[in-house]
């Protein structure tokens, strides 16, 4: 113990460190640098490296020539995108499906977490939770397969149940009508992730100060009053953080695979999202420049949205991400 005190009092290390030259610090931390270097190099090459390809968005790219021998067109691709009716529709679909999925996911996950929290038998609660996580671990191709099977007109469970309950007279061809598509995307997202999303909310609920509940009880608050006046305000910071995170992903359109696997010619006007637009222009039609321009649009808008959400949260005095 005395030795430690002596160590702390010793004045020499602090000033020495402050004036330590940059290169000497690098030499001293060479092991830390070497340990992070492989992954940094990897992420710079694979995640940031492709940025040079953004040049294509300002060119009329023709395959077969080097990227430096292309015709430069400035912002023509972006101008074309914004004027294009097809792209406007794609943007509408993307935002609509994102917002529907976001709202449904938040409401259902918070609701399920609140209800799970009311189950006091830990064994039963754990079993329900384990089952509710299951769809999260299934791949999208399996999930969309299950969805299309459940919605089918030949023995699909959804139609069977609805007909038996006399809610509809005959089976609906769910996946062939545009007006149902956005709802199906939202419902699929909820089915796959609702259980998983409760994890964070349950943790947040568990960390609410128990004395607040006791105080509320003293004031005569019932179950619902406590949920409304104690639990929900208690988990508000978590809700806000997750909302900010998700606003940055709003141009993902509530996923890529759902639209890719469940979309079809009949619902194209409602199912096409930016990601699918890029895929179509990039790999199928071969108009790389337009595809890249759409991709840049998506990335830039996402970062702006994330930044704005963060600033707004800061203004409102809420927790924020960055």
């Amino acid at each position: 113990m005395p030795q430690q005190i002596v160590h702390k009092v010793e004045p020499t290390p602090q000033p020495a460190r402050r004036t330590e030259p940059y290169w000497r610090k690098m030499v001293r931390q060479r092991q830390l640098i070497l340990m992070s270097l492989p992954m940094v190099a990897y992420v710079v090459l694979f995640a940031y490296g492709p940025i040079w390809g953004w040049m294509m968005a300002f060119q009329q790219y023709k395959p077969g020539f080097s990227i430096f021998d292309q015709k430069w067109v400035g912002f023509d691709q972006f101008r074309f995108l914004i004027m294009d009716e097809g792209f406007t529709r794609v943007l509408r679909n993307t935002i609509a499906m994102s917002v529907i999925s976001l709202v449904l996911s938040f409401v259902t996950a918070i609701g399920l977490a609140l209800l799970l929290n009311e189950i006091k038998k830990t064994g039963i609660k754990r079993i329900i939770q384990t089952i509710s996580y299951l769809p999260h671990f299934l791949s999208w191709i399996i999930v969309t397969g299950l969805v299309s099977m459940s919605l089918s007109t030949e023995g699909g469970i959804v139609n069977i149940v609805l007909v038996k309950l006399h809610l509809i007279n005959e089976p609906i061809v769910w996946l062939s009508e545009g007006k149902y598509f956005w709802g199906i995307v939202g419902a699929t997202n909820v089915w796959k992730e609702v259980g998983w999303n409760t994890i964070i909310y349950l943790a947040a609920i568990a960390s609410v100060d128990p004395s607040l509940y006791e105080a509320a009880e003293m004031d005569g608050a019932g179950r619902y009053r406590k949920i409304w006046n104690v639990t929900l305000p208690g988990i508000r910071p978590v809700i806000v953080i997750l909302l900010i995170l998700n606003i940055g992903w709003i141009l993902n359109g509530g996923g890529f695979e759902i639209q890719y696997f469940l979309g079809n010619g009949q619902v194209l006007d409602y199912s096409e999202t930016i990601d699918i637009f890029v895929l179509k222009y990039g790999l199928r039609i071969g108009n790389y420049s337009l595809g890249v321009a759409a991709g840049i649009f998506k990335t830039v808008v996402s970062i702006i949205l994330l930044y704005c959400a963060n600033v707004i949260a800061k203004r409102l005095g809420e927790e924020r991400l960055i």
Binding site: Q29, Q31, L32, M35, S36, M39, V40, Y42, V43, F46, A47, G49, P50, G53, W54, L115, L116, E118, I119, R126, Q129, I131, S132, P135, F137, S139, W140, I141, I142, G145, L146, V147, M149, S150, E154, G155, I157, W191, I199, I200, A203, G222, G248, W249, Y260, F261, G263, V278, G282, L283, Y288, G291, V292, G295, I296, T299, I303, L306, E319, L321
Partner: protein, 306 residues
């Protein structure tokens, strides 16, 4: 007086009854599609087409699974999936943990920079087409290596989220462990290997699960970068080839050779599909319940702010 007592006793009862019924509903909705597929996969193909199979097979058979594993293509794809999952997970978990250790060291001069460039990847993407050109220029098209290296679509060597989870976990360990090891003359690499890594076992199990699930479930890299090489096909991609025949008009309508051939011997595309779905999901479904405690804790760590 009497009414208030009565209400306080029946109100919880009504609430709990409704709550339990609701949970039952959630469980049924969650499990039914999966159990239905399981039943179809264990039911004779021709019999299934008569309809009325819900959660229990009518004519038990293992023929559908036989057909799946005798199809050389699917069998090979299964092993490609296993290989990419094992290699990708082992490499990814080790490298993620090592990186997380460096950014957990408060004295590390590039700590903020390293953290930032990884966290930005959660929102920033250069886009599909530029990535495709990069992979092409690196001569990684149609190689197994692209499965390990391509970041995005759930796979890739590192995920910023996993990195943050491990970093936060390391912060919960007592700092004195690292300091005393360093006083004993251990280098940072040594400290990481013999002190931090063993202590991180629970959180590493969590990110191993996340990484393995991503590797096992992804299909996009096969589709974009390796679809012309049949021997690089994965289980998920085989599933797409089968499903696309009935579900999706976007992709190629290819029915697996086995499924087409064996219709006569009572095996239908529907049954094959169900069997592959089960084969493709069971490996993960038997593992995750055992790691539940860890990944729940891990997710909570990941949500902690810097």
């Amino acid at each position: 007086m009497q009414t208030t007592i009565k209400r306080s006793r029946t109100e919880p009862l009504v609430f709990h009854t409704i709550n339990y019924l609701f949970m039952l509903f959630v469980i049924v909705v969650t499990l039914y599609p999966f159990l239905n597929t399981l039943a179809v996969s264990l039911n004779a193909g021709l019999d299934t087409t008569r309809g009325g199979i819900y959660v229990w097979p009518r004519e038990w058979t293992l023929k559908n699974y036989d057909a799946v594993f005798q199809d050389g293509r699917v069998f090979h794809a299964f092993w490609v999936s296993v290989a990419r999952t094992v290699i990708g997970t082992v490499a990814g978990v080790f490298l993620t943990a090592m990186l997380a250790y460096t950014i957990s060291r408060k004295e590390y001069m590039y700590r903020k920079f390293v953290t930032l460039i990884f966290v930005l990847t959660m929102y920033f993407s250069a886009g599909l087409i530029p990535s495709y050109f990069l992979i092409k220029d690196l001569h990684l098209l149609n190689t197994f290596l692209v499965y390990i290296l391509f970041p995005g679509a759930g796979a890739g060597l590192i995920s910023a989220f996993n990195m943050l989870v491990v970093r936060t976990y390391i912060h919960t360990l007592p700092e004195s462990l690292v300091e005393s090891a360093k006083i004993d003359g251990a280098s940072d690499f040594r400290v990481f290997m013999s002190v931090i890594l063993p202590l991180c076992a629970p959180v590493l199990a969590t990110i191993a699960l996340f990484t393995a699930v991503g590797q096992w479930n992804t299909w996009f890299d096969t589709f974009i970068f390796a679809s012309s090489r049949e021997n690089l096909s994965t289980l998920q991609y085989e599933l797409i080839r089968l499903l696309s025949s009935t579900v999706n008009s976007n992709a190629n309508p290819n029915i697996s050779s086995t499924a087409a051939k064996d219709t006569a011997t009572m095996i239908t595309p529907l049954s094959i599909r169900a069997a592959i779905t089960i084969v493709a999901s069971v490996p993960i479904l038997v593992v995750y319940p055992f790691l539940q405690r860890h990944f729940v804790a891990g997710l909570q760590l990941g949500s902690v702010k810097e």
